[in-house]
């Protein structure tokens, strides 16, 4: 185990207070950026982008489906890395980040699955197919649910954190294996009726709004993660004096009695 003696700067960076104050300054910008990009991307994608020659207007679901899928997967890695940092350097903040990342990731995975299903109906005539990517997404959802369930199964916050960090790490090692094997499984069993024609080059008019939506989703993810982590910080550090001062500033009157 690495000793923390030479890592003071690292620990300062990992201080919840530092995180709370710094992100507090970013938040307004992040809100504007997220909402602006999301609105732009959605209006562009839904109203202005040309419709797909084969799939018609249902293809517009891609503007939510693809960004959500991206972040769902990236979010799992982020969660696992945060957990690993917590385990190795015993940094409380990174556990808080990990804990916050789990519900966000699970929700994004759900969005990816749901939009995929709704998209599937008009396009392939069915809500659900056991396609490699969809199946992998479903497994990802289960992995997220496992981490969430383990987190809340323990009375002790700390044990819950560490246990789910280990589980997230084990999952990370497994995800590439799961993806590869599901992929392989699918090519083995591919039903003849459904062929996925992935357009190798998307028309720029379609692609540009997608790009905007992907960036918007990254920004959304950062925003949601920061908000959730800040809640976690306040909950965990509620006895610290800086939290007291901060609360008195934010809610000077307390609650209307």
């Amino acid at each position: 185990m690495a000793s923390g003696r030479n890592w003071n700067w690292f620990h300062r960076m990992g201080s919840p207070r530092w995180f709370y104050e710094t992100t507090g300054r970013w938040l307004p910008w992040l809100w504007v950026l997220t909402l602006g990009l999301m609105l732009t991307g959605l209006v562009w994608g839904l109203a202005f982008a040309p419709q797909d020659a084969k799939q018609g207007n249902s293809f517009r679901i891609i503007y939510l489906h693809v960004p959500a899928s991206f972040l769902a997967l990236a979010g799992y890695y982020l969660m696992a890395i945060a957990g690993a940092i917590g385990l190795i350097w015993k940094m409380k903040l990174s556990y808080m980040v990990m804990k916050s990342a789990a519900p966000i990731g699970a929700a994004l995975t759900f969005i990816a699955l749901f939009t995929g299903a709704v998209w599937g109906k008009p396009t392939w005539g069915t809500y659900w197919v056991w396609d490699a990517r969809i199946t992998s997404m479903l497994i990802l959802l289960f992995l997220y649910l496992g981490v969430l369930a383990l987190q809340y199964a323990f009375h002790s916050q700390e044990t819950g954190n560490k246990a789910s960090a280990i589980l997230a790490l084990v999952g990370t090692v497994n995800i590439p294996i799961i993806y590869k094997s599901v992929d392989w499984w699918y090519t083995l069993h591919q039903p003849a009726t459904i062929k996925f024609t992935s357009a190798p080059s998307m028309h720029p008019d379609m692609f540009q709004p997608l790009l905007v939506m992907i960036v918007a989703m990254y920004s959304f993810y950062a925003l949601a993660l920061i908000l959730h982590t800040r809640v976690e910080i306040l909950r965990r550090e509620r006895k610290a004096s800086w939290v007291r001062e901060l609360a008195l500033q934010a809610e000077p009157g307390g609650v209307a009695q």
Partner: protein, 226 residues
């Protein structure tokens, strides 16, 4: 007689002896495997062509569930009677002692499952050329399942009702094993090369042998903090 030297061999022998003393309990996953497999023809159809088509997958799903059933108890009694605490402070490498326990667990669950699987295969009309691949894939695959399941068992050992949670945790991780396990059998039945999927199972097993004991050792250390 168990030797006092603990470590890998010590835990292997001790757990085998303990399993021998609780023969009835240890046999239950095996009985589960056989019983549930007889439900399949009742639930689907006695038509041997249809059964043959489903047999590789069904046998593998049953074997997976039977292994899962037995995994929960892997560390439970050691946790309750304080042996786990002794394990944590024994002057041996924790990961190796843990591996000894898992090998013992496989010998009393995975191996018997593998041994009776041809019987189930015949009952479910699995073509004869699928029987050897079935045994080979189950032998490698159940070892993977024991190792992966042990990670979940270690993480949930201090929880009173860890059983359901354990399945939520480990079933997603089991998926690659079942894909390649049943694929090997299917390939053999279809007259294709079944050594490919089997080799992948072997690779997964070696990775699991190398990594899972470390994760389990970490998990056991942390849950003992409570």
């Amino acid at each position: 007689m168990i030797a006092g030297s603990q470590g890998f061999a010590g835990y292997l022998r001790r757990d085998l002896l303990l399993a021998y003393r609780r023969r009835g309990e240890v046999a239950s996953p095996l009985i589960f495997f056989v019983l549930v497999s007889t439900l399949i023809p009742l639930g689907i159809s006695p038509d041997s062509a249809r059964l043959a088509e489903l047999a590789p997958g069904i046998i593998w799903v049953m074997a997976l569930l039977a292994t899962l059933l037995s995994t929960e108890t892997l560390f439970a009694s050691d946790y309750q009677d304080g042996s786990l605490e002794q394990l944590l402070i024994s002057p041996q490498l924790l990961a190796l002692s843990v591996l000894g326990k898992i090998v013992a667990h496989w010998l009393v669950t995975g191996l018997p499952l593998t041994m009776v699987s041809p019987l189930i295969g015949v009952m479910l009309s699995l073509p004869a050329e699928g029987l050897l691949p079935l045994m080979a894939s189950l032998a490698l695959g159940t070892a993977c399942l024991s190792l992966i399941g042990a990670v979940g068992a270690a993480l949930t050992v201090s929880l009173r009702k860890g059983g359901l949670l354990l399945s939520v945790l480990v079933i997603p991780l089991y998926m690659p094993v079942i894909i390649f396990g049943s694929a090997a059998v299917q390939a053999a039945v279809d007259g294709l090369n079944w050594l490919g999927p089997l080799a992948v199972l072997g690779a997964m097993l070696s990775a699991a042998v190398a990594l899972c004991p470390l994760a389990i050792a970490g998990a056991l250390r942390l849950v003992s903090n409570n």
